[in-house]
Amino acid sequence: MAQVQVRDLDISFGALKVLEKLNVTAEDGEFLVLLGPSGCGKSTLLNAIAGLLDINGGQIFIGGKNVTWEEPKDRGIGMVFQSYALYPTMTVEKNLSFGLQVAGVKKDEIRSRVGRAAEILQIEPFLKRKPANLSGGQRQRVAIGRALVRDVEVFLFDEPLSNLDAKLRGELRVEIKRLHQRLKNTVIYVTHDQIEAMTLADRIAIMRNGVIQQLDTPHIIYNKPQNLFVAGFIGSPSMNLLRGQLTTVAGKRVFSAGGLSMPLDRYEFTSGAPDAAPAVLGIRPEHVAIGDDATKMPFAVEGEIEVVEPMGSDTVAWTKVAGQSFTFRCESEVQLHVGQKLKIGFDPARGSLFHEETTNRL
């Protein structure tokens, strides 16, 4: 069993509390992504799990064993770093085998493990090269290989793709996913890139200022963000946020903003949601219908196009709803021009309603 469990973790740097009573569990074989902006504590958490950081309180369990005081090498983990951290004066083969050699593993065993890793990652042609003679993608594969040869159940990735250009990032992302499908080990992966998170994760833990905002599958995080931060962080272009009032009219809940009234009768409210409150309604640009399709929606209004951004694969347009900035996405074939007036519609039940002050989901 390769479950990773973090209990009541406290980490402070001097007087600064980075993590406080943090609890998170990565199940056996799960691909857990720690996602968040710079400084949110995700790397700190990962390094603490790895044993590279001193903690001030709490416990860490890997594979059921309490590893809180163990050295990184005894925790059953392999780690891949942002800068690959390959030993520059050693060949790829030596990079892979050095740790095993130091640990006293037998030569045959080393050879077989290195061979297996090289085959899985397709780095056999480079075994005799030095890292300086490899491309970025090749180096990252070697870095993964170094973790692979350790024969461990848990892999830790610290923003491994951040140093690569976009195209390479896309390619390696798929390879990492394939690798996980093949090996079925537990992975904890840190990134600030939401696309990586969405495509790779079984579950995502979105972090902010040392606190996990939401821990759910990508699907739920995308469709049912738990607070304004998560809503704004995931999705590109970001979710439209309309500020207004939640009110109850004749027993039915309604969202009103700028004189417009949007029905919320089919919206799934959390238990204990108030009848009236200042609120923010979030609608994703891709959930907006225009023109004739808009009239089929529970709510529709006329808007004027202000800016058009053709992206190639689709088009993003900026307009105003209830006097507030509003974007929508449509197929690139649709002809749009500035000043055009057209009908815009969406289903509020598919959106997300947040309390303006607490920022939590209603």
């Binding site: 790895a50 942002q82 004066t89 740790g99 640990a103 350790r150």
Partner: protein, 329 residues
């Protein structure tokens, strides 16, 4: 005011000697374009570099040339321009004192460079361990650098004095078999010099190597830790090979310093006992001043110059060869 012409400076500075950089080209930082935009000669710059020109040509071409020339003459105090062939060199290599000097500088050089490097790296490694008293310790390890070599030589001479120094102290404290006065025995005097030399120079070596250590990517340390590689192995087999630049710097500084060694010999041993700690530079100066035989001194000095020139040529060729290899790949 003098307005310089459009001879802009280079973009990427060539850290090596300027010999290989193209001149007169315009290359803004980061740009790959090089255009010839030089129109007039920058008069002001030329004026400003007159001292440079005077020195480099006057001292390092003319001066060296003159020295070499005089080594083929009988010059005693004032220049005598009549050539006498290799007489001085024959005399040089048949003089025991010179042979001793050459032998000494090799022994001293190798010993002190190795000792300095090892001790300096050990100090750097230990200082890298996040100790609370790091600043205090660094001050202590580095202050010998601020001392004149005359002072260093005198001080160590006293510390190594058999009647008043360390030996005497140990005797008084009860260790009567303790003896550490290498300077009094012709066979061990060199080692006393090595000790003083390491004392003077290890701090600088430590500072340079510590800077090199700190330049190693932090994630390398993490990776080594996750790999389970013990700290000492990381320092020796991973970090040190990555610090080629710093180590090279240390070696170059050390070699230059060893070749020039003079002050500390004069103050610590006076080249004695007898001629046991004679060094080439001391020989040169002795013949130049005390013995009033400049030509002999020049012969010795030219002989000292030879290895330097050879090494520089070798390094230059090596660099040239390496560059060409990269280009053709």
């Amino acid at each position: 005011m003098v307005h310089g012409a459009i001879a802009e400076r280079h973009g990427t500075p060539d850290q090596r000697s300027g010999q290989t950089a193209p001149t007169g080209n315009y290359a803004a930082q980061g740009d790959n374009l090089a255009e010839r935009t030089r129109k007039k000669l920058p008069i002001a710059a030329i004026i400003a570099t007159i001292p440079l020109m005077i020195e480099s040509v006057g001292v390092y071409i003319f001066g060296i040339g003159l020295s070499v020339y005089f080594s083929f003459t009988n010059t005693v105090v004032f220049p005598d321009y009549k050539l006498v062939g290799f007489k001085q060199y024959e005399r040089l290599w048949s003089t025991d004192v010179w042979i001793t000097a050459v032998k000494n500088i090799w022994i001293f050089g190798i010993l002190s460079i190795i000792a300095n490097l090892v001790f300096g790296y050990l100090l750097a490694v230990f200082m890298d361990q996040r100790i609370k008293q790091e600043d205090l310790l660094r001050t202590i390890f580095l202050y010998p650098f601020a001392m004149s070599l005359i002072v260093t030589g005198l001080v160590w001479q006293w510390v190594l004095d058999p009647n008043y120094g360390l030996t005497a102290t140990m005797h008084e404290l009860g260790w009567t078999s303790f003896y550490f006065s290498p300077l009094n025995d012709a066979n061990t005097a060199l080692y006393g010099l090595v000790v003083a030399g390491v004392w003077q120079g290890a701090g600088v070596t430590m500072a340079i190597l510590l800077a090199g250590l700190r330049g190693v990517d932090a994630e390398i340390w993490k990776a080594a830790r996750v790999d389970g590689i013990p700290a000492w192995r990381t320092y020796l087999f991973i970090a040190l090979p990555m610090m080629r630049g710093a180590v090279a710097t240390v070696l170059v500084l050390q070699c230059i310093g060893v070749l020039r060694i003079y002050d500390i010999i004069v103050s610590m041993t006076g080249a004695g006992p007898g001629n046991a700690t004679m060094m080439p530079a001391v020989y040169v100066l002795q013949y130049l001043s005390d013995r009033q035989n400049a030509a002999q001194g020049m012969a010795a000095a030219t002989t000292m110059l030879l290895p330097v020139v050879l090494v520089l040529i070798a390094v230059g060729l090596f660099r040239l060869f390496r560059r060409r290899k990269v280009v053709t790949l």
